[in-house]
Amino acid sequence: MITVAELIREHEEESLENRAYGFWLYLMTDAIIFALLFATYVTMFSNTAQGPKPVDLFDLQHVFIETLCLLISSVTFGFAFLASVQKKLASSVGWLLITLVFGLSFVVLEVSEFLEMINEGAGPQKSGYLSAFFTLVATHGLHVSVGMVGIMMMTCQILFKGLTKPVCSRLFRLGLFWHFLDIVWIGIFSVVYLPVFI
């Protein structure tokens, strides 16, 4: 004879496992979106229409700091997740907040780069190349911002609900998302910025 509480627990466990699986599938669909934006960027690379060229636009130091922020945030998110596995609530929240700070610095740096370019007359309306550049990089930036909303939400959930099974499972999925964005950024760094500096 199975009790209702046991049935619910069984149901919950199964549905959390399903969600982790479904989230991998979601990431694959998102990877396709980025892949197509990369392809668009590459085909538009020389369509600068007498406007500014990639060589004139980027600042290596700026991009380097941006990259560092994002990579470090991935490491700190890893610590937050490990702390949650060990049921260390305070340390998990602490690492999440540190992640948030690095994520925020990344977005601020990116927005400042965008604003600087727009002020120099290199906005997305200038040429096909710049449309592709802004769309690719801003789509990533938008994802990071969504991830930051997720981090804030998870911080609240950990504080108010504790490290329950559903909360930990959500944190795991948010982690997947956050690390995925790191990988995409490495793609952006190698395809968008690096060729200009070599």
């Binding site: 619910i8 496992e17 699986y21 669909t29 396709i32 538009m44 007359g121 802004f134 559903p166």
Partner: protein, 685 residues
């Protein structure tokens, strides 16, 4: 040079209009043509009538709590199909209007102004693909797949509800475009630069973009949902090669949905950026490249064809086996053919634009790849025919659709192989030959399958069978109507008639166009029969009750439950050890056993959040179309807020008590003697 945006200058399109209403003014009401005005009035009246009818019946509470907020896959599936049927009528009205225009417009303007005619062919294609075929197949998959794999629900019931309401939101946007503003005039694929803001400055293309974006997100989620459902929720023992064929086709379709729809999202979003923020992805000037659009949209578009057709193939496979009273011939070859088609569908997109300047070698490769797809499809046709050979065929309407499909689809396939030869395509491109070809694939290859599925699974969803006379009428009218409407278009293509002509000056074309119009009228009778069949069947439902849950002597697991299936589908999750699991259960006489005790069952509780997300999605699209930015921001915040609210909520469950389960199961088994006598009467010894 067209408007070149200088920094600091507010030349961005998005800045147009007033703060409160954006560019929405009284001019949005279609006074430009009496036909368009008529369409607007009819739309408003239909919606009002539906609202009044439900109010008069006093069914709002029931509708809300039992249906709209439901997370039960069977109810979501039924709602998808209702949406599909409504949009089928809408799309068909467009079709018959075009046929009527072309039938009379020799050396005169006909009754439709060009601007309106262009909207009609655009909305016909958009509606039939995105809001008729997609919801129809998604609905069938929803109703049937969990039951066929012995599961109680899909992997993500709540996400399923969001998918439904996002699809409905997209359909709603297309509907609103009839009343406020105009729809796109750029054809259902919306090629730039014509669809760019330089040549199509109004709201039409924006309606098209946002209807596609919003419903496309829904389709992507449906794809993810059913990949997870099929891979993770199957009954114990059901290996991949023991899945019913419909599950296999649903699986391949889901993979295609999840991996092709992101391309549509990207291409629609980029066109939206061009139009709203004056970017230059696809413009004529400043480094735009419209070939990118053609590539991106067909990277989605060709897999989309198989998204539409594969589930229908699945239906035909189930129907052929059951109504030939034999097991399916060549199950493994059908599975491999399905998978091969799914894979190859990503390798042929370029054949949609052979004439747009690729080198002969590139064209040749894509031409050959296209022809190769005919091979697995041919394998399937032979498998179905071999299933029928030496079977005792029952000519149920579902079976008639299947036979009609096999004959008609082969003709369409042959014309497809013709078009796959690039030099031939150069002659036929953009003629009515092409129009005839793809209707020849999609009407039998998709729609006949969905109709067959409706005839076949209706009792499982509602507990009574559909009237067979009207079912045969539906088939006869669609079959005859199809041939009358589209065979002349093949000939017209050879005569050189371009597609999408609003009027013409060649008298040789008119007789054939008149025949095509007669065909459309026969199809009209077919559509009338669809609704007549529902009416007659609902009226006579007491005589046609399916008491056993197995009206057709079925072979797969969905027939192992009562009709309509209980919310939990299976009181005990079945153990599967062969293909045709239910058939095996019947042979071992285990199909109608009833235990004297059951465990209670946990199901997810209904929630209105999906409906609200769909509503907010609709408002978001509407607001961006009209540049009402405050509303857009508000609806975006609403979506985010609703998702956060839902994810912070404790999961709510519906507990179905052991006693309820017992009484439902006993009711099903009570009719076992009737089943036994019916089976010995029907099945060959």
């Amino acid at each position: 040079m067209y408007a070149e945006a200088m920094p600091g200058e507010s030349a961005v399109a998005a800045m147009q209009g007033s703060l409160l209403f954006g560019r929405l003014t009284l001019d949005a009401i279609p006074f430009y043509s009496w036909v368009a005005m008529g369409g607007a009035v009819v739309t408003v009246f239909t919606v009002l009538l539906a609202v009044l009818w439900v109010s008069w019946l006093g069914k709002w509470r029931y509708l809300w709590s039992e249906w709209l907020t439901s997370v039960d896959h069977k109810r979501i599936g039924v709602m998808y199909i209702v949406l599909a049927l409504v949009m089928l009528v809408r799309g068909f009205i467009d079709a018959i209007m075009m046929r009527a225009q072309q039938a009379i417009a020799l050396n005169n303007e006909g009754y439709l102004p060009p601007e309106h005619f262009e909207q009609i062919f655009t909305s016909h294609g958009t509606i039939m693909i995105f809001f008729m075929a997609m919801p129809f197949l998604t609905g069938l998959i929803n109703v049937v797949v969990p039951q066929q794999i012995g599961a109680r629900d899909v992997a993500f019931p709540f996400m399923n509800s969001i998918s439904l309401w996002l699809t409905a939101a997209g359909a709603g946007l297309v509907g609103v475009s009839l009343v406020l503003g105009r729809f796109s005039t750029a054809g259902w694929t919306g090629y730039p630069p014509y669809s760019g803001s330089d040549f199509s400055p109004g709201v039409g293309v924006d309606y098209w973009i946002w209807a596609l974006l919003i419903s496309g997100v829904g389709s992507t989620m449906t794809g993810i949902n059913f990949i997870a459902t099929i891979l993770r929720c199957r009954a114990p023992g059901m290996g991949l090669m023991k899945m019913p064929l419909f599950v296999w086709t649903a699986f391949c379709t889901s993979i295609l949905m999840a991996f092709a729809f992101p391309a549509l999202t990207v291409v629609a979003a980029l066109l939206g950026l061009d139009r709203t923020l004056d970017m230059h992805f696809f413009t004529n000037d400043l480094g735009g490249n419209m070939m990118n659009f053609a590539n991106l949209i067909w990277i989605w578009g060709h897999p989309e064809v198989y998204i539409l057709i594969l589930p229908a193939f699945g239906v035909f496979s189930e129907v052929t086996a059951v109504f030939s009273q034999k097991r399916l011939f060549g199950y493994p070859s059908l599975v491999y053919a399905t998978a091969a088609i799914a894979l190859l569908s990503f390798t042929v997109w370029l054949h949609h634009f052979f004439t747009m300047g690729s080198s002969p070698n590139v064209n040749a490769i894509f031409g050959i790849a296209t022809m190769i797809i005919a091979v697995p499809t041919g394998v399937k046709i032979f498998d179905w025919i071999f299933t029928m050979i030496r079977g005792r065929i029952i000519f149920h309407p579902a079976m008639l659709f299947t036979i009609g499909f096999i004959i008609t689809f082969v003709i369409g396939g042959i014309t497809g192989v013709l078009l796959a030869i690039p030099p031939v395509d150069y002659l036929m491109h953009n003629t009515t030959f092409l129009v005839a070809h793809f209707h020849n694939m999609l009407i039998p290859g998709a729609l006949f399958g969905y109709f067959a599925g409706t005839q076949y699974w209706f009792p499982k969803a509602f507990g009574f069978k559909l009237n067979e006379f009207w079912g045969k009428m539906v088939f006869a009218c669609w079959f005859v109507g199809f041939y009358l409407a589209f065979m002349p278009l093949y000939v017209l293509g050879f005569l050189g008639m371009p597609r999408r002509l609003e009027h013409y000056h060649n008298p040789d074309w008119q007789p054939l166009l008149l025949v095509a119009f007669v065909g459309a009228c026969v199809v009209l009778v077919g559509i009338f029969s669809v609704f007549m069949q529902f009416y007659v069947s609902i009226r006579d439902r007491e005589q046609n009750r399916d008491m056993t849950g197995d009206p057709w002597n079925g072979r797969t697991l969905e027939w192992a439950t009562s009709s309509p299936a209980a919310p939990y589908n299976f009181a005990v999750i079945p153990q599967v050890d062969s293909l045709d699991a239910f058939w095996a259960m019947k042979e071992k006489a285990e199909a109608y056993s009833c235990k004297d005790h059951y465990d209670p069952i946990v199901m997810p509780k209904n929630t209105g959040v999906g409906v609200f997300i769909g509503g907010a999605g609709f408002l978001l699209g509407f607001a961006i179309v009209w540049y009402i930015w405050w509303l857009a921001a508000l609806s975006l915040l609403a979506v985010i807020g609703l998702l956060m609210f839902r994810s912070s909520q404790k999961e709510a469950y519906e507990i179905i008590s052991a006693e309820t389960v017992l009484s439902i199961e006993q009711a099903r088994v009570r009719h076992y003697p009737e089943v036994q006598s019916a089976m010995s009467e029907r099945s060959p010894s």
